[in-house]
Amino acid sequence: MPDLAPRVPGVEARAGKFPGPSLIPALHAITERVGWLPREELVALSREVHRPLYEIEGLISFYPHFRTTPPERVTLRVCHDLSCWLRGAEDRIAEARQRYARDPDIEFTECSCLGRCDTGPSVTVNQTPVTLARADTLIAAARNGSAPDVVAVPSARRWPNDPYASAAEHYGVLRDVLSGALPPGQVTAVLAESGLRGMGGAGFPTGRKWELVAAQVATPKYAICNADESEPGTFKDRQILADQPHLVLEGMLLGMLATGAEEGWVFIRHEYGPEEAVVRREIEHLRETGLLGPAVPTGRGNGAGRRLSVEVFTSPGGYILGEESALIECIEGHRGEPRNKPPFPGVYGLHGQPTLMNSVETLAHVPVIARRGAAWWKEQGAGESAGLKFFAVSGHVERPGVYCVPMGTTARQLLDLAGGVLDGRRPGAIQPGGASSNFLGPGQLDVPLDFGSLREAGSMLGSGALVVMAEGTDLLAAATNVLRFFRDESCGKCVPCRVGSTKAHQILADHLAAGGGPDDVDARITELEQVMRRTSICGLGQVALGPVASVLRLTGSPDPD
């Protein structure tokens, strides 16, 4: 008998609202065929699949990848977020705006972080990421209708989290598990013992997450690799995907075996086209070698083999999809709006089923831990900290890029590794954990970069992105830039984030435009920060005003609390 009450406690109204498959692939298909989404196509789609027009409207108006007007020949986008802003994006944008204002071929837009902060200001030409220096060449090519096929080139660096000396050894742990030599539960146990925590920002203990999903009785279960890092200053996963797709996929397959999932998804942001190509190649390689397929041979059971499937899901765009439940909503074909939690994805995830979700870096660390053991992993950390950590370093720094260092390395050490502050200037402030982390002052550079120390210092490890601001940077303007990012990327679902981020940004932008500084900021900002932090549904709204508030604290403005 059907039931009128919500089926799982805490599940929202929209769960199961649109029966049937996601319409996002169909919308992608129209876009591929026509270049945009004409109304007649949408009406025809709605009739064909018996789904309401408003569902389609909800999707195409939410995801930036969909457009309802024909594109110009060339779409040029320039990032305006913090790392690029620190590297002069404002001027570049002004120049480009002027230069292409009357160019009928070119549609110019500012955009949110493209995940290439190391070469900022970053630019895309018809979706292809380029450096500013190469933009003109690509624009010229695009005018003639040609588009380069870009595949990311591995950096050829040997990262310390790769246990394999050569490609021939790849997937050694996975083979051991499939053969029965290594029980999957043992991998989980080693992870739990190693203290590995989620590297996407939240830092949930990985072993415990795997245990939780493994313990769920409901089937099927799913696994998702969250490759949707999109926060300004954050691009470490991009490098890992380019250099270590085998580790990421092996980690994911181990997770699937350990939790009982048969289907896995790599959810990758669509700005990572070159890296996606690498991942797809690697998946193809896995299929060819029989490690993915309808019946992957195992050493146990009746020899029937085990179904293991991994597919790539290209994000239709938006930072919010990095939030795990928004990501799931997106795969299900809904607007990418985070769910109220609990229930968490481990219990009620994709299609309401138990779902294991880990970020790229987390999964990339799994093989080495499984191979070398928890003790080895712990030893890799500096001081009390355990393991290795990838950092993206950007902003006012000599050698922006991705660095893999012992967890607990100090900010100063990492900054030195990256060649120090740009042009030999003195450090003014850092964001140690991406756009959502609170600013730390120059006096806090010796804080070890790990979960606990950064929390104690009033910030967080976050997404592993060190953004450096040289002395003299207008920190309030920098924090307001960060706030703008969150405002632009707010999904709009809940009131505090949707309205609060907008109103707060308006107050601050007006304040800055009027020449105001940190000492005379409207006290409403502090109040809005508190309300947004405590009442927003997801992390985006909760942290959106955090950096601004941290700047007000750093600069010693009076705090009403």
């Binding site: 799982v8 609202k17 029966p19 408003y54 409901a218 707010s490 009131v495 107050i507 409403r524």
Partner: protein
């Protein structure tokens, strides 16, 4: 979806504001707090909808860094919840400030300035917030006044998603959603279209859901919408369809007019309404209401149609071009757009008279005809729009005053065949279960029913059930909206229902999915049925019906394997010459799988008129006395002779609607009393009806407007509208509900039951009923099914019959749990062979015409076309044609087409529709200027005597201006 259902028997204990509270496992903090008497403010939450947790007004502290939304967060054992700490209260105040920032000023707020119940402003008051100066303002998101009935103000929208859930979760109309992202998000209709141009069906559920001024009703006829407390609330029932939704009219007594209507909680309709119920009530205030009795002038004899339209002149090809606009309306003789009877043309043929003169004349003429021609010369048409009390009195008048059973009403045109089959099969014509019981069904078949248009609120329950897991199978030649909400859609060819269902039963029997025990214990004649359907393997059923054999097999398997299956059907089953056979198949399909008599299973013919069930129960049919007592049974006759104190009731069955028309043509029936019926437009083959009406020696028409039929009248009596009287109405569920007087009748218009009593007394019956209540009491004494019901115990939601204990029970939902109403208590299976329709397409008339209703209009349009809203939304006659057929004739949307059958020709606009099958077309029958029934065939079902409205052959041509 395989989701583990929580253990609902379990409870959890938690602490809310220091109080220990025990709640059902899975219940939300908000619900648990409410049960404990703790009020947590909400904006986006409403118990009618599943929660979304977006406004954050209900946040509570559960000891985590972030607050939880109480409306969605489930209670957990040992949880410590604080609902109103200073920080929480401050957070709520700041959230309110955020939402206030972009709102319209209080005095201009579309809700506060009308109904005065803006929930956001109430919160602002609660937190002591003066309006919106705390944060930067950003208004100018725009307004949308494109809908005739609903105003949209995007500045006032707080994106609570209540309208979204009202539109899809409650009504299943799927029009409203969120568009855009972040701060730019707004509610949008379809592809962000203007509301009035979208697929919105104007049910107004979104308005009822909206907490702010974002979605508000527009005032109709400049009657201002005011706070409910300033208006007089009258609880009653919707006057339109058989779903019988409960509603409240808010009446502005100063203006003597309705300000607005609102759905009212009732166990069936649950406060839902459709466009007709919510916005279609202003017909009663039309200036065209009849207010004085009218007598035909001497010079207007011999009788005949008085207007050019009703004479049929405009339908003649040689008159067509003249004065005709592209909209298909005549500019000739200044006829009002809208195509209603032209009063200026007709009224001069009548003179006003006093009630006494008019009633004396009616009594004298009917008595004379009766004296001269005997009982067979008199007939009466009552109406399913009238109350039970009126129907009861009307049939009693005809039967006791004129000693004839020639009394019928529009049920003949509606479910007569279904009722015939049901009586034969299970001994009762009423539904075996309610429409709301669909939620308990594993499978529901909806067939021959454009439910979203004809039973809109019932269809919301079908759609909602599907969202909750019921498999919906839709079987209909037209892919109307239910097809979008079906798991399996079978687009069968018109008139092939018997073949299709025989095919399904063939497969069910072949797979042995029948309920042997049920068949043995509760049915007869299974072998004969099995024998017949043996000749209908799915491949043969496919040949006839056009539904692929594999789909027929799938339907059979899904139905056969279901734990509980229910069938809902409409006129698409009944209005065929094989209507009775069609219904026999549905009964058999349910019976052989044991699907009658348990929750979520059964047979439900969706009744059309608001009181067609009641009028039939009252005996307003020629073959039955009240409560379906057989008219030709001497025992029954004797019983009613005694009950009514009359010596000579008619010992034979009377004539049906269609037979009466035929009899009038042959001089049999010579005098008629028509109460609220308009056979000119509602009966098939208008050209024949015209002749029959003109042939009557005497016709008295009692109605609220001048109808087409009234043009043939000798006397016209001004009646009261539904809104002006008290009485009971029985809906499709067998729910008997009280309708209450809302407004006074205009002029000298009289209550119908009083008019009937006045006439009865003039022919010497000596009646003395003081009120409908008194009539009801007498009724119940002769209608055992209504036993125990009284005006005192019907209550605000009405009661289902049978009802052993109306004081404490809503009544019987599922009937026939143990036995059927047949003499032997068993279901009688009646096999049916497929027979083709009477008039098949030919080279000359290659299309199949289907007729029916539109959502916005009611029958002959005399009410709905006088409603501002309904007329504005659906102003004109249309023929719906498949895109490829339209292309073949070079017809585009809005082009004028000529549609002809062997019986007549009409012209009307084309609507190119992906919902039609090729070779079929559909014409709603509401529009006299393009009357579908000029085309329809008057062939009838041999058992139910119902005309074949759903099938005749026509030709379509483009009309080039």
């Amino acid at each position: 979806m395989a989701i583990t259902a929580p253990d609902r028997t379990g409870t959890v204990t938690l602490t809310i504001d220091g109080r220990e509270v025990t709640a059902t496992e899975g219940s939300t903090i908000w619900a648990a707090a409410k049960a404990a008497g703790i009020d947590i403010p909400v904006l986006c939450h409403d118990e009618r909808y599943d929660p979304v947790g977006v406004c954050r007004m209900c946040v509570v502290d559960v000891g985590a860094p972030a607050f939880a939304a109480a409306c969605v967060r489930a209670c957990e054992s040992g949880m410590q919840v604080q609902t109103a700490t200073p920080e929480i209260e401050r957070s709520r105040a700041v959230l309110t400030e955020m939402l206030l920032a972009d709102q319209p000023d209080r005095e201009h707020d579309p809700k506060q300035a009308t109904t005065g119940d803006n929930e956001l402003l109430a919160l602002a008051d609660r937190f002591g917030l003066t309006h919106n100066d705390a944060l930067p303002r950003a208004r100018g998101r725009g307004t949308d006044f494109s809908s005739p009935v609903i105003a949209v103000d995007h500045d006032a929208c707080i994106l609570c998603d209540r309208c979204v859930r009202a539109c899809d979760d409650i009504q299943g109309n799927d029009v409203i959603g969120r568009s855009g992202k972040g701060y730019a998000t707004r509610i949008a209709f379809d592809l962000s279209d203007p509301m009035g141009a979208s697929s919105c069906v104007s049910c107004g559920e979104c308005v009822a859901a909206c907490p702010t001024g974002a979605l508000t009703n527009k005032p109709l006829h400049d009657v201002p919408i005011r706070p409910r407390t300033d208006l007089d609330a009258v609880d009653t029932v919707c006057p339109y369809c058989g779903v019988g939704c409960a509603l409240t009219y808010y009446v502005d007594r100063d203006r003597g007019a309705i300000s607005f209507a609102e759905g009212r909680e009732q166990p069936g309709s649950h406060g839902r309404l459709c466009v007709k119920g919510r916005y279609g009530w202003d017909y009663a205030a039309s200036a065209q209401r009849l207010t004085r009795p009218l007598i035909r002038r001497e010079e207007s004899y011999p009788k005949g149609a008085l207007s050019a339209d009703v004479r049929g002149e405009l339908a003649q090809p040689d008159h067509q071009e003249e004065g005709r606009t592209k909209q298909g309306r005549s500019g000739k003789r200044g006829r009002k757009p809208g195509g209603l009877v032209d009063y200026a043309e007709v009224m001069p043929h009548f003179r006003e008279a006093s009630w006494d003169e008019a009633l004396d004349l009616v009594a004298r003429r009917l008595t004379e005809i009766h004296a001269a021609g005997g009982p067979a010369a008199i007939a009466g048409f009552g109406s399913a729009k009238c109350s039970n009390e009126e129907a009861y009195l009307f049939q009693k008048l005809i039967r006791t005053g004129f000693h004839t059973n020639n009394v019928d009403h529009c049920t003949r045109l509606c479910h007569a065949s279904s009722v015939a089959a049901l009586f034969e099969g299970i001994g009762s014509g009423a539904v075996s279960t309610t429409y709301g019981d669909v939620i308990n069904a594993d499978v529901a078949i909806v067939t021959g029913s454009n439910s979203t248009a004809n039973h809109p609120v019932a269809s919301t329950f079908f759609k909602q059930a599907r969202r909750r897991g019921t498999t919906v199978i839709y079987v209909d030649p037209r892919a109307d909206k239910m097809a979008d909400h079906a798991d399996i859609y079978c687009q069968l060819k018109p008139g092939t229902d018997v073949a299709f269902y025989n095919g399904v039963m063939h497969e069910i029997i072949r797979l042995d999915l029948v309920d042997h025990d049920y068949i043995t214990r509760r049915t007869t004649n299974f072998e004969a049925l099995a024998q017949t359907v043996r000749d209908y393997p799915p491949e043969r059923a496919e040949q006839i019906s056009g539904v692929p054999a594999e789909v027929i097999r799938r339907v059979a398997r899904v139905w056969g394997e279901a734990g509980a299956g229910v069938i809902f059907w409409g006129m698409g089953i009944s209005q065929h010459t094989t209507g009775t056979d069609n219904a026999r198949c549905l009964i058999a399909l349910c019976a052989i799988t044991g699907n009658i008599g348990r929750p979520g299973s059964g047979l439900h013919p969706l009744r059309g008129q608001n009181n067609v069930q009641g009028a039939s129960d009252m005996g307003l049919i020629p073959m039955f006395y009240p409560d379906y007592a057989k008219a030709d049974d001497p025992g029954v006759k004797a019983r009613f002779e005694q009950a009514w104190g009359t010596p000579d009731l008619d010992p034979k069955r009377g004539l049906t609607v269609t037979e009466i028309i035929g009899s009038a043509l042959k001089g049999g029936v010579r005098g008629m009393y028509m109460l609220g019926e308009n056979p000119f437009l509602s009966d098939p083959n208008i050209n024949k009806v015209r002749k029959a009406l003109a042939a009557l020696e005497f016709l008295v028409v009692q109605d609220i407007f001048l109808t087409e039929t009234a043009e043939f009248a000798d006397v016209i009596l001004p009646a009261s509208s539904y809104l002006e009287k008290d009485g009971t109405y029985t809906n499709t569920d067998r729910r008997v509900q009280l309708g209450h007087k809302v407004l006074d009748s205009p002029g000298e218009a009289r209550l119908d039951w009083r008019v009937v009593q006045d006439l009865a007394n003039r022919i010497g019956l000596g009646w003395d009923y003081a009120s409908p209540r008194e009539i009801f009491t007498e009724m119940v004494s002769v209608i055992p099914s209504y036993a125990n019901l009284s005006y005192d115990n019907l209550g605000p939601g009405g009661k289902l019959y049978p009802n052993p204990d109306p004081e404490h029970s809503d009544g019987t939902v599922v009937m026939f749990g143990e036995r059927f109403n047949t003499d032997d208590g068993l279901a009688h299976l009646v096999p049916a062979e497929w027979l083709p329709a009477k008039e098949l397409p030919s080279a000359e008339y290659p299309f199949v015409l289907n007729t029916g209703r539109m959502l916005e209009h009611w029958h002959t349009g005399s009410m709905t076309r006088r409603s501002y809203a309904l007329d504005a939304i659906a102003p004109k006659a249309l023929v719906f044609v498949h895109p490829d057929d339209a292309a073949e004739f070079g017809l585009a949307d809005g082009d004028l087409a000529r549609v002809s059958s062997r019986r007549g020709t009409i012209e009307l606009e084309v609507s190119v529709s992906h919902r039609e099958a090729r070779g079929n077309c559909f014409i709603p029958f509401h529009f006299r200027e393009a009357a579908a029934n000029l085309l329809t065939i008057d062939e009838i079902d041999p058992v139910g005597k119902i005309p074949e409205f759903k099938f005749c052959a026509v030709r379509i041509e483009a009309v080039h201006a």
